[in-house]
Amino acid sequence: MTTSSSAEHPTRRDFLYVATGSVAAVGAAFAAWPLISQMNPDASTIAAGAPIEVDLAPIASGQAIKVFWRGKPIYISNRTKKEVDDAINTQLSSLPDPQTDAQRTKQGHEQWLVVIGICTHLGCVPIAHEGSYNGFFCPCHGSVYDTSGRIRSGPAPTNLPVPPYEFVSDTKIKIG
């Protein structure tokens, strides 16, 4: 709406044009917001993503189950003594993404490993109790995780993330 004619001589007319143009631009920007915001998760999706409780009692030692939270698979693994020891006794220097097993489990509940079962490479679901470390193995591109869900080899850059969770009782956790 502004004309290029009188750039050197700002006049009242130019001011009016600039003001009108600016108001139009501001209006357009505000009008665009609802059109973008609607793409975010809606209220029912957010509500459905509330924390879930999982009963650990049926999970035998050496067994891993998969539950879903916010559409993501969560592995809950009741690790054997050997698996826990393997995880604890790993040299941090040999890890691409150094983290101790204690940092990835809850104190007093060391046999329980809770990780989001999504490969940090490109989002496939790794298979439990597979791979050379008997932890997780991602069949898509060959990432190998150990019994603590830490990346050991392959293209994945980081460890399997631990979701927010807490022990409600000895046999029950709340994820989220």
């Binding site: 009016l16 044009y17 009108t20 108001v23 609802p34 059109l35 915001s37 609607q38 975010n40 809606d42």
Partner: protein, 687 residues
């Protein structure tokens, strides 16, 4: 799009592209340098407004399609999901639903402008016919869009309109089956209507391109109806027409926003908030207001095929207008007789629209027949005769002369425009619901009425208590989740209170690891559980009646306000028919029916219920629900409280809507003012 371009780019990049694809030159010659007659009045801005509306409809429509599910079991639910849960979903849906009405208001003004100023005459016949094609496509699009929410009017509108084709001899039934993809309007019908509703706007956009192309070949008509002869007769499209169209668009948006933010359901039908039910036809089936004149023509002819032919003929006849009216003078301004008949024709169209919304009985049918005859006579008799016998007044020599002759007609023109525009659509907007012998419920004072109305939080809390302790034993509230109780603009509980409220309910979940369904305590994300497992269980427990879901009941009930009150309602934003009716219903029970009224067994007499015989026994009695806040524990108070609560469940984002509405209104008014002065400044050099 017109002829050669004088566009000479200096930027090397633009030069490079321009040599290979002269798109900048095309835009420049079509929308910058394009000469427009300098005497165009504001009636000519509706072309731009229509482009704006097409854009708004496509953008909001594409977005709604991201959240909508075209399936008979989910369509109604997904629309409610959009309005309740999607961020700004209520805004997008109301923009789209009211946008359709605005689109038609603008197109009718655009068409009547063409009729008045003879814009269809040589050499603009093809331009005009393309316009008729756009109009037909718009009608098809609007109709299919109205089917998508899958409410009662959607379903029965789809049934009635598709059945029009059954009037075709021999192949009619087969065509209808083909349209339905079944033996009745059902899921395949909804699915294909969704697909076509998405497709047609892009076809409209395509024909609009042709329409504008044709326009730029022959040039715009103008109020004087004489072709531009010299440079003095025209001004450049940009900035002159651009700024003028822009100003008009902003004014139109103010009108649009009035409906979207303050009375979003005024132009719709209450019945469409009742989910589609193939077993029950609403008492009065009426199409959207923009089809009403043609609906009146359809019903005026007492023959199935004849009615359908007349209805489509009423639109098709427009395409032949350039040859029916052969007068050489274009503008009715210089045709004293044609001018008068034009206005009679406008009135006839408005009256036909009004009749289309009335029940097809008695005097209405006779009036519709007379007006239908006149509608066709206007094109087939009056215009051909006029073009032969009328002596036109002398037209100005040139557009420049015309501009000099008339100084200020713009203001009067705007006034007429608003008056006619308003009367045109409102003439049809009225609901056909007749009183059915029931008295009009008294208008009550509601805290949520008006542009600044808000819900009364303690009242909503009391209403929730009444619902929970009384209504909930028979009526579900399926679209409301416990978490909603903590939403802003609601009863004002916090999340912990909402969670505690949910805890008190048992909700069915499962299957568990053993494959069994189980009951657990409610969570905030759960919706209010229904009192009955299914409709049959509800009917069995309620003497054959099905207690309706109450989530939307405050918007799903209405009554006729009558002329001229409903016109005034647009100004006062009165839209509390639903709440008024609900209170009237709950307080309208009478122990003994009036003499001579035969009450069927198992029914109760209610003054305000249509037909008076209602299966629901008197639901409330004084002292039934205990209030902690000292409010009177009376049936009247209970009714008002639960009704306010149900208004909130029907329109949970009302407060956010009105708040945003105020901001938008202030912005648009300031912007319109700026546009007005900018327009004056720009045009100062042209006058």
């Amino acid at each position: 799009m017109s002829g050669h371009s004088t566009f000479e780019p200096t930027n090397p990049v633009i030069k490079w592209i321009e040599r290979r694809l002269p798109i900048f030159g095309l835009v420049h010659s079509s929308f910058v340098a394009y000469p427009t007659p300098r005497n165009l009045n504001y009636w000519w801005t509706f072309g731009g407004i229509l482009s704006l509306m097409l854009g708004v409809q496509i953008i909001t429509g594409v977005i709604l399609a991201m959240h909508y599910t075209p399936h008979v079991d989910f369509a109604f639910k997904s629309v409610e999901g959009i309005v309740r849960d999607v961020n700004y979903g209520w805004l997008l849906r109301y923009l789209h639903a009211n946008g359709a009405s605005m689109f038609f208001i603008a197109v009718y003004i655009h068409m009547f402008r063409g009729l008045y100023y003879g814009s269809y005459k040589e050499p603009r016949e093809v331009l005009w016919i393309l316009g008729v094609i756009i109009y037909l496509l718009m009608m098809a699009t609007g109709f299919m869009g109205y089917v998508l929410p899958w409410g009662q009017m959607s379903f029965w509108g789809a049934t009635v309109i598709t059945n029009l084709f059954s009037a075709i001899p021999y192949v009619g039934e087969s065509i209808v089956t083909l349209l339905w993809g079944g033996y009745s309007v059902d899921n395949p019908t909804l699915n294909r209507f969704f697909s076509l509703h998405y497709l047609l706007p892009f076809m409209i956009a395509g024909v609009v391109v042709l329409h504008i192309w044709a326009l730029h070949v022959v040039g715009q008509n103008n109020p004087a109806g004489v072709e531009p002869k010299t440079e003095k007769d025209v001004v450049a499209f940009t900035p002159y027409a651009t700024i003028k169209d822009g100003f008009a668009m902003v004014c139109f948006m103010i009108f649009y926003a009035w409906f979207v933010f303050y009375m979003p359901n005024f132009l719709g039908h209450a019945d469409n908030y009742i989910p589609a039910n193939p077993g029950v036809t609403p008492a009065h089936i009426v199409p959207e207001w923009y089809y009403l004149p043609f609906y009146a023509i359809l019903r005026a002819i007492p023959n199935k095929l004849g009615g359908v032919v007349a209805m489509f003929g009423a639109i098709i006849i427009l395409a032949f207008l350039p040859w029916l009216d052969s007068a050489k003078t274009r503008s009715s301004r210089y045709r004293p007789l044609a001018k008068q008949f034009f206005w009679i024709f406008v009135v006839v169209c408005v009256l036909l629209g009004w009749l289309g919304g009335k029940p097809a009985e008695g005097i209405y049918v006779i009036a519709a027949r007379v007006l239908t005859f006149y509608y066709f006579a206007h094109f087939l008799i009056i215009l051909p005769i006029l073009s032969r016998i009328e002596t036109p007044k002398p037209v100005p020599n040139s557009i420049a002369d015309d501009v000099l002759a008339k100084g200020k007609k713009a203001m009067a023109s705007i006034a007429v425009m608003l008056a006619v525009g308003g009367a045109l659509f409102i003439g049809g907007a009225q609901d056909a619901r007749a009183a059915e012998g029931a008295p009009t419920p008294p208008s009550l004072k509601w805290s949520f009425a008006g542009p600044f109305g808000k819900f009364d939080q303690p009242q909503l809390q009391r209403g929730l208590k009444v619902y929970k302790e009384v209504c909930a034993s028979c009526h579900s509230l399926s679209y409301v989740a416990f978490r909603n109780l903590a939403d802003p603009g609601g009863p004002g509980y916090n999340t912990a209170q909402a969670a505690a409220f949910a805890e008190e309910y048992k909700v069915k979940d499962g299957p568990n690891d053993a494959g069994d369904m189980f009951e657990r305590n409610g969570r905030p994300a759960d919706r209010f559980p229904a009192p009955f497992a299914n409709e049959n269980a509800a009917r069995a427990a309620n003497g054959g009646a099905y207690p309706p879901d109450l989530s939307l009941i405050a918007k799903a009930r209405s009554y006729d306000r009558g002329f001229p009150l409903f016109l005034w309602d647009v100004v006062t934003q009165f839209q509390e028919q639903g709440p008024n009716y609900l209170v009237a219903l709950m307080t309208g029970y009478e122990d003994t029916p009036p003499k001579g009224f035969e009450l069927p067994a198992g029914a109760n007499y209610n003054k305000y219920f249509p037909g008076h015989a209602i299966k629901m026994p008197k639901p409330l009695s004084d002292g039934q629900v205990t209030y902690d806040d000292g409010s009177p524990q009376t049936v009247e108070q209970y009714s008002k409280d639960v009704t306010a609560f149900l208004m909130w469940t029907a329109e949970p984002h009302m407060e956010a809507r009105k708040r945003l509405g105020l901001q938008v209104m202030i912005f648009l008014i300031v912007f319109a003012g700026l546009m007005y002065f900018t327009k004056k400044k720009v045009w100062a050099s042209a006058h």
